[in-house]
């Protein structure tokens, strides 16, 4: 069985598990009336909670209510928001483009900057400026995203709305940690590739330093970077909550933030499912890209 097929087959159980966990939490969370009262204030009334519990069959056994929910979700019907009665699907659809473009822009920025940076650091390893740059990156990695975003705003970055400037500023802040992490991996991978036997052979055969670097070492060192894409996506998606809050972008993160504050359970449930689908899709894309890029893995079955 090819690794990709294996992944595809394992996808449904994972997704089911995530929804089941969320549903379990939901089942226990709004049960206590005192606690529901504590969560009110922002337009969530006992009536809407009662209607919500009836709609989701929350007072029936867990299995029944889960199956009810699953059947509805399969038709992409996530119910209505407790806050304003809007269908959750519409809310999510309105917020998705902002978050998606934010995450994609951040990924693009991270790779476009980190790969050349990592290569430059590896190619001139041991020089003074590389050591300084490495230390600077080390310090950047320790900065909280919120502080970076606020500093950007302080420096005059635009706030709010749907402009390209806001999106770019937010994506830069979001990608900062990923840039440091990826460039460190790239540097390490390239350094170990440069020490490999085949690179020595290529050098001995008289290949130019540039050819050795780009043709022999870099192609091998780029591969692990692709798998990291899968690992970075969940971090970027949850990091976007902070960036959206700081820059006032109405995406999934801000949507979830408001939903948590108001205990808007249907929105949260839909959001969790959507987040899981997005993350799993990202991992799958990374796996597929890995298979495509590495000729050794093409068509091989394990």
């Amino acid at each position: 069985m090819s690794p990709l097929l294996r992944r595809l087959l394992l996808l449904p159980p994972t997704l089911l598990g995530i929804t089941l966990c969320t549903f379990l939490l939901l089942h226990v969370a709004p049960g206590d009336p005192a606690e529901v009262r504590a969560g009110m204030g922002r337009g969530v009334t006992p009536e809407s909670i009662a209607a919500f519990r009836a709609e989701y069959h929350l007072d029936e056994p867990l299995a029944t209510s889960y199956l009810h929910w699953l059947a509805r979700s399969a038709r992409l019907d996530f119910g209505r928001s407790l806050l304003d009665g809007q269908p959750v699907r519409d809310k999510l659809a309105a917020a998705l483009p902002a978050t998606l473009s934010l995450a994609l822009l951040a990924v693009a920025l991270a790779y476009l900057l980190a790969v050349p940076l990592g290569c430059a650091l590896a190619a001139s390893d041991g020089k003074r400026w590389t050591r300084l740059t490495t230390s600077a990156l080390y310090c950047l990695y320790a900065l909280p995203t919120a502080a970076v975003g606020l500093a950007a705003l302080f420096a005059g970055a635009p706030y709010g709305g749907r402009g390209a400037g806001v999106l770019f500023a937010a994506a830069s802040c979001l990608s900062l940690a990923a840039i440091v992490k990826l460039s460190r991996y790239q540097r390490g991978a390239l350094l170990s590739a440069l020490r490999a036997d085949w690179v020595r052979t290529a050098r001995a055969k008289g290949a130019s330093p540039a050819r050795v670097l780009y043709r022999h070492a870099l192609r091998n060192a780029l591969l692990p970077m692709v798998t990291l894409l899968g690992a970075e996506l969940p971090a970027l998606l949850s990091g976007s909550v902070i960036v959206e809050e700081v820059f006032g972008i109405h995406g999934l993160g801000l949507c979830g933030f408001d939903a948590v504050l108001a205990r808007d359970y249907p929105v949260l449930l839909g959001l969790t499912t959507l987040g899981a689908v997005l993350t799993l899709a990202g991992v799958l894309v990374a796996d597929a890209a890995y298979g495509l890029l590495d000729p050794r893995l093409r068509g091989r079955s394990t």
């Binding site: 394992l10 159980p13 994972t14 598990g17 995530i18 966990c21 969320t22 939490l25 226990v28 969370a29 709004p30 005192a34 606690e35 504590a38 969560g39 080390y138 310090c139 990695y141 320790a142 900065l143 909280p144 995203t145 919120a146 502080a147 606020l150 500093a151 705003l153 302080f154 969940p234 998606l237 949850s238 909550v241 902070i242 809050e245 700081v246 979830g256 933030f257 948590v260 504050l261 205990r263 949260l268 959001l271 969790t272 987040g275 899981a276 993350t279 799993l280 991992v283």
Partner: protein
């Protein structure tokens, strides 16, 4: 021991990181001596008070450094802490100064409730260094246990492997809500638990990989042939060889947990007010229209803590690396 220390020090900056972390821990332990609204020692009206900033005597309950200084008699004296304000004192000396820029009176200015930023910064070390290790301790236990269980049997691996994958993709925000929803009050413990519940799958994956590798080695086979129980195999023969990922993660994890706590508190889901947290200072910086004295100090404090933890982490990794 000395060989471990030697290898630890080989990592660049590891000793610096350890010193920095030690300093931060000392600051957290002695925060009441560094910043308090009561003096370190004072003689007021023939009464000698030693360390009232720690003991908080009832006689001085309605006093602070400023009011005491104002009513000192001819033979009285007062030794104030370096930062003569407490983290919660809103109107020291009865004067309200809201969002005061840094001055000789308040070295780092005041926040939107007139509290001294330097005092809140110093006391914030306590929160950061309490939540970070707490979170790491919880997920170290959870991640190692599940990782080990994965390595023990095929069915366990199939089920728990899914659990790890679910954990890796589970949205953090929802988890937080659930934890907050299930208990009446938000506390440090819940913040730590929330961080731990989102971080354990990463560790479990690493421990699982190491444990699976170790399971295939001859000494495990020998132990099994001698009739060792699976529990004994796991704990005595596999765990010591599969724990390097856990130990390295522990060091780096504290820094990451501090960042996580900051982010949560910044969003308003973390440490409850009025506790002095660095993330709370950042959210004040946002709410107050980006006053630099509310933005820069917590950022520097967080960065220093994270850098210290990461440097120590580098050292630990070097120490556990197989020589050669």
């Amino acid at each position: 021991m000395s060989r471990s220390w030697k290898r630890f020090s080989q990592a660049r900056g590891a000793r610096l990181g350890l010193a920095l972390l030690g300093g931060l821990i000392a600051l957290a332990l002695f925060a009441d001596l560094a910043a308090s609204d009561l003096p370190l020692a004072a003689r007021v009206g023939a009464h000698l008070y030693l360390l009232p900033c720690v003991t908080r005597p009832a006689a001085l309950a309605s006093d602070d450094n400023q009011s005491l200084a104002a009513r000192l008699g001819p033979h009285d004296w007062l030794l104030a802490p370096p930062v003569p304000y407490g983290p919660y004192a809103q109107h020291p000396g009865g004067i309200t100064r809201v969002l005061d820029p840094p001055s000789h009176r308040h070295l780092l200015g005041t926040d939107d409730r007139g509290r001294d930023v330097a005092a809140r910064l110093i006391h914030g070390t306590r929160i950061a260094l309490a939540v970070g290790p707490l979170a790491v301790a919880i997920y170290l236990l959870l991640g190692t246990l599940i990782g080990l269980l994965c390595a023990l049997g095929r069915t366990g691996d199939l089920v728990l492997g899914r659990a790890i994958e679910i954990g890796l993709t589970f949205p953090t925000l929802f988890l937080l809500l659930a934890i907050q929803g299930m208990s009446a009050t938000a506390s440090l413990f819940e913040v730590g638990l929330a961080i731990a519940l989102t971080e354990w799958p990463h560790l479990a994956r690493l421990v699982r990989a190491d444990a699976l590798k170790t399971m295939a080695s001859p000494h495990v086979e020998a132990a099994r042939a001698m009739g060792a129980s699976p529990v004994r195999v796991a704990l005595v023969h596999v765990l010591p060889l599969a724990s390097s990922a856990a130990l390295t993660t522990a060091a780096f994890g504290v820094g990451q947990a501090v960042l996580f706590e900051t982010a949560l508190t910044f969003l308003g889901f973390g440490v409850p007010p009025p506790l002095a947290s660095w993330g709370e200072l950042l959210s004040q910086a946002q709410a107050s229209g980006l006053e630099p004295w509310l933005l820069v100090p917590p950022t520097v404090a967080i960065a220093l803590t994270v850098i210290a933890c990461n440097l120590v982490g580098d050292g630990v990794r070097k120490m556990l690396e197989e020589p050669g």
